[in-house]
């Protein structure tokens, strides 16, 4: 579909949610828990059961489809690196035995720097994991405790060194910016440190304050918990410009890759409506038309599995209009932008004609570029991608 997306496959991906963390970060609103060994073991046995039954589950929520030929398996969380090693091995081998996987399948794992030890690295390597994503969050020793993190910048250096020595194919670092009062110079320093570590991929997320988090509560109580909007815009621009100059292309709002080949193969599936199967509490699945979501709480998810059901709590089937709206919303977050030919082929509408005025206006405002059959957000456009999505007319898409 996309000449720029040579790295992208149309094969489905598999996501496995590991809901445990050593402690809960004050900004995090994901489905996470702390968990001792026995709680983790219970989870693993339920997950194995979900894997075992994944093909059979029809149930009243319908079938998640018999997805086959996954070319990515992604362990996310939570902190997958926090899971006890035997548990992780059992899960990997259960997945491998299913015969679900494509021959070139790549395995990803999210890890905390403090969990990256020589022994854990060797376990992961043995399991076939080739890409690690490190939850670094900050490269400023003063910021780390504020973010509720237990590692130091030195720990990060050590972990990255070990990962490299162990010969992992690809390494990604996660960072957070936009702390209250964060200066451009401070963030530039962190970016310099990050680039010096020579990762293949970087995710730089703007700090987001969610209601049901400790930070959310502090904000409600009147504390300033994030940078001003103007500063956020400056930090956003700095991030993209600095990393571009350092050879990292910002291919999505928060994601940067050393080359097209190093883009997150798994995450791109979410943005291009490529099917994916999600296992574990709160995981989402998508079969190209319907989306399914598992029970969010570990308890409810386990109960469903105990009852012999799938872990699915709900589903929605997207109308053409919803699918197109999502596509516009997601593509406006990517540097490649929106493929008008794809819309024409799949929805039988002339999107450009429907949005002549919108495109003219957004282009004049410097937020959008029309390039042949592609609508691409500019950097200023990416910064306000949520607004762009609202601006377009979706029309009544009829296939």
């Amino acid at each position: 579909m996309n000449p720029d997306r040579s790295s992208e496959s149309n094969k489905p991906g598999l996501y496995v949610h590991i809901p445990f963390c050593s402690s809960i970060c004050p900004y995090c609103d994901f489905a996470v828990l702390t968990g001792n060994r026995s709680r983790q073991e219970r989870f693993v046995s339920h997950l194995l059961r979900e894997i075992e039954l994944a093909d059979d589950h029809g149930g009243h929520h319908g079938h998640r489809g018999k997805m086959r030929g996954f070319d990515t398996v992604y362990f996310g969380g939570g902190t997958p690196s926090f899971l006890y090693a035997e548990g992780l091995s059992e899960i990997v081998s259960a997945i491998s035995k299913k015969g679900w996987l494509d021959t070139g399948c790549r395995w990803f794992l999210e890890a905390n720097p403090e969990d990256v030890t020589l022994s854990s690295l060797s376990v992961w390597q043995e399991l076939g994991i080739r890409t690690l994503s490190l939850g670094v969050q900050s490269l400023d020793d003063e910021a780390l405790p504020w973010l509720g993190r237990h590692h130091t910048v030195d720990d990060v250096h050590r972990s990255v060194g070990r990962v490299r020595e162990a010969g992992f194919q690809s390494l990604s670092l996660d960072l957070i910016y936009g702390r209250p009062g964060q200066e451009l110079a401070d963030w530039r320093k962190e970016l310099e440190t990050a680039v010096a570590l020579e990762p293949d991929h970087l995710s730089c997320y703007q700090l987001t304050i969610h209601d049901r988090t400790l930070f959310g509560r502090r904000q409600r109580e009147g504390e300033v918990m994030e940078a001003s909007e103007d500063r956020q815009a400056e930090l956003f621009r700095l991030t993209h410009e600095f990393l571009a100059a350092a050879g990292y292309e910002g291919y999505e709002v928060s994601n940067f890759a050393r080359s097209v080949a190093h883009r997150s193969h798994h995450n791109q599936k979410y943005w291009y409506h490529t099917p994916y199967l999600g296992l574990g509490p709160s995981a989402h699945s998508f079969d190209g038309r319907s989306r399914f979501w598992n029970e969010g709480s570990l308890f409810d998810w386990q109960k469903k599995i105990d009852d012999g059901e799938s872990g699915v709590e709900g589903r929605e089937t997207l109308s053409d209009e919803e699918l197109l709206l999502e596509a516009v919303m997601l593509r406006m977050r990517t540097k490649d932008g929106l493929d008008l030919a794809w819309i024409r082929d799949n929805f039988d509408i002339d999107f450009l004609k429907l949005n002549e005025d919108v495109v003219a206006k957004l282009s004049a405002d410097g937020l959008l570029e029309l390039d042949e059959n592609w609508l691409r957000p500019t950097l200023d456009g990416l910064a306000v991608a949520d607004r762009l999505a609202v601006a377009f007319n979706i029309g009544t898409a009829v296939k």
Binding site: D230, A233, W293, D386, R387
Partner: protein, 600 residues
């Protein structure tokens, strides 16, 4: 019944001094209503009146009373509204009465409206009977109030009847005093008919019901009557007394207060204050004191959503059936769509109509800033009456502008005098004067432009007098002034619904106020938005809304997509309700926020 067995009287009081409660007590004592029928404050029939504890629409009730002298009396209690906006209704009630109870709160004492209404009552030669209510209150100070009645009202404070309407104390004494001290009506049943229309109510089955006081002559069904001011003729179908429900009678004659039904289709066909006479044997002239109720405050009402326009039309039609003082005509705004330019008797009237539309008709409304009616003399079109900024003529052609003035009266403890004088000065008051009433109390009078009272005057007065100041006004005259039309521009485009005609001194602060409110309420957009206040081409105030620079969710993976799409659908829905001014989207909430400040 002989004339000397009839008493026609009304109760005048400041708002909240317990007029309706006293009326209830009198009705109960005279058995005018059974206990089952009795609802507190029976004369306040609208829900809104009951809730706010104020009387807007007067009601009338005839009571049978057996006095201590052993004779039966007919007491016609003519209710009066207690608020200044409705002084024309007060006037009509007074004209139908021969006496009035002046009700004074035993804790609050004499207040501005008490005095204003007292003067009205004196104009109509009514016999006055002071009554001190709420003597049961711990804060009641009967001696002080007696002194105030003496000094402020010029009546004998010692003759005032102390009552507690709430507890029913003193009601018997009051009834006896009404018989002894208020005069019976006079008039000749055989003379040519002169009946004063003091109120009217629309009934879906019978048409307009006229409430009349018969001054001279007699009227009965079958006769042809003539309304002397409107010059219309009708055949009388039914006459009777008002005893909470209508009680049919064979005739009504001089001295009586009752109703008259004559197949009249709409309230607009008649005029309150008009005189009814016979077609065949007409009175030589109508009764004096007829005055048309003219709206003095104007505002445009728009439905929040355009599909409520039809409902709004119907609701206004219905409201005017019973409220001829409310006027309306079609109006339209580029930003807000179709609506109506409405005329009101005052701010409270506006408030009441707005609430009734919202509550009884379930409409969501947007009201433009209230305006007075200006008199503008132009070179080309001569004299123009302008109550709508959209009709404001080209300033180049204006020879002279005039605005309505009122005589405001504020009564307050003397310690607030300085603050209130300052407030009047700020509001362009002239000929401000004061005189001392009872010890420590002052009445201040000032001639103020009505327009100045429309903009948060009540609130400010309440604040500077800590709630102790009471306010009343009457219309004076038109005076020469310097007015300008202030437009609000959003990125250079004028927002018609926000245009205002104001005094030249107020132009800049008012424009700035609007600009700031808009800047607070219009959400950031992709481009910088300039909000300006302008007189013609001259910019007098300016604020800006910076462009959106960052609006994107950091993370958007599997679980975020559905949530995000739903949010987007909501935003798209909200976008449909935005009003477009040029390229700028203005949410309705911005209009509400800007316009609301002016109503309060």
């Amino acid at each position: 019944m002989a004339l000397d067995q009839i008493r026609n009287f009304c109760i005048i009081a400041h708002i909240d001094h317990g007029k309706s409660t006293l009326a209830d007590r009198l009705i109960q004592r005279c058995g005018g209503v059974s206990d089952r029928e009795f609802r507190d404050q029976i004369l306040d029939s609208m829900d809104l009146e009951r809730e706010r504890g104020i009387t807007i629409k007067s009601n009338t009730v005839s009571l049978h009373y057996k006095a201590k002298d052993g004779r039966d009396y007919l007491l016609n209690l003519i209710d009066t509204p207690g608020h200044v906006d409705f002084s024309h209704e007060v006037r009509r009630s007074l004209m139908s009465s021969d006496g009035a109870l002046i009700l004074v709160d035993a804790a609050q004492g004499v207040e501005a409206q008490t005095v204003a209404n007292l003067y009205l009552a004196m104009e109509h030669n009514l016999t006055l009977l002071p009554v001190i209510n709420k003597i049961d209150l711990p804060a009641a100070d009967i001696e002080r109030v007696q002194e105030e009645i003496d000094t402020d009202l010029g009546l004998d404070g010692l003759e005032a009847i102390p009552v507690s309407a709430k507890l029913g104390q003193g009601i018997d004494e009051l009834l006896e005093a009404i018989i002894e001290r208020l005069p019976p009506p006079t008039g000749d049943p055989g003379a040519p008919l002169q009946a004063l229309i003091f109120d009217a109510q629309y009934d879906a089955y019978r048409g307009v019901i006229l409430y009349c006081r018969i001054k001279q002559g007699t009227v009965k069904p079958g006769q042809t009557i003539r309304l002397m001011h409107t010059e219309k003729e009708y055949e009388v179908e039914e006459v009777g007394l008002l005893q909470l429900k209508r009680v049919k009678q064979e005739e009504l004659s001089a001295g009586a207060v009752g109703y008259l039904i004559a197949n009249i289709k709409a309230v607009h066909d008649i005029a309150i204050g008009d005189t009814v006479t016979h077609k065949d044997n007409p009175a030589p002239k109508p009764l004096p004191g007829y005055k048309e109720a003219k709206p003095v405050v104007f505002s445009s009402i728009y439905p929040m959503s355009t599909d409520e326009y039809e409902d709004l039309t119907k609701a206004l039609e219905k409201l005017t059936l019973n409220d001829p003082a409310l006027t309306y005509q079609k109006d339209s705004s580029a930003a807000l769509g179709f609506g109506f330019r409405c005329g009101f008797l005052g701010l409270l009237h506006l408030d009441v109509i707005q609430e009734r539309l919202q509550r009884e008709y379930d409409l969501s409304l947007l009201l433009s800033a209230p305006s007075v009616q200006y008199r503008i003399t132009t070179e080309k079109e001569g004299l123009l009456m302008v109550d709508n900024p959209s009709r404001f003529p080209d300033p180049m052609h204006i020879i002279k502008s005039e605005e309505p003035f009122i005589k405001a009266s504020v009564m307050m403890p003397e310690r607030y005098l300085g603050a209130v004088m300052e407030l009047c000065r700020e509001r362009r008051g002239v000929n401000t004067a004061f005189n001392y009433l009872a010890v420590g109390r002052v009445e201040l009078t000032s001639e103020l432009p009505l327009a100045e009272v429309l903009f948060d005057f009540y609130d400010r007065l309440k604040t500077v007098t800590q709630g102790y100041g009471s306010f009343d006004y009457e219309m004076l005259d038109y005076r020469e002034t310097q007015i300008v039309k202030v437009d609000i521009l959003v990125n250079g485009e004028s927002v018609d619904a926000l245009s205002q005609v104001v005094h030249v001194d107020n132009a800049r602060p008012r424009a700035l106020h609007y600009c700031e409110r808009l800047a607070e309420t219009i959400p950031k957009q992709q481009f910088k938005i300039a909000i300006q206040g302008a007189i013609g081409g001259q910019i007098i105030a300016r604020t800006t809304i910076n462009a959106f620079r960052k609006d994107v969710t950091a993370k958007c993976y599997g679980g975020d997509i559905t949530r995000k799409r739903k949010l987007l659908e909501k935003q798209k829905e909200g976008k449909k309700r935005m009003k477009m001014v040029g390229a700028v989207e203005i949410p309705q909430s911005a209009f509400v926020a800007v316009l609301k400040t002016d109503e309060s």
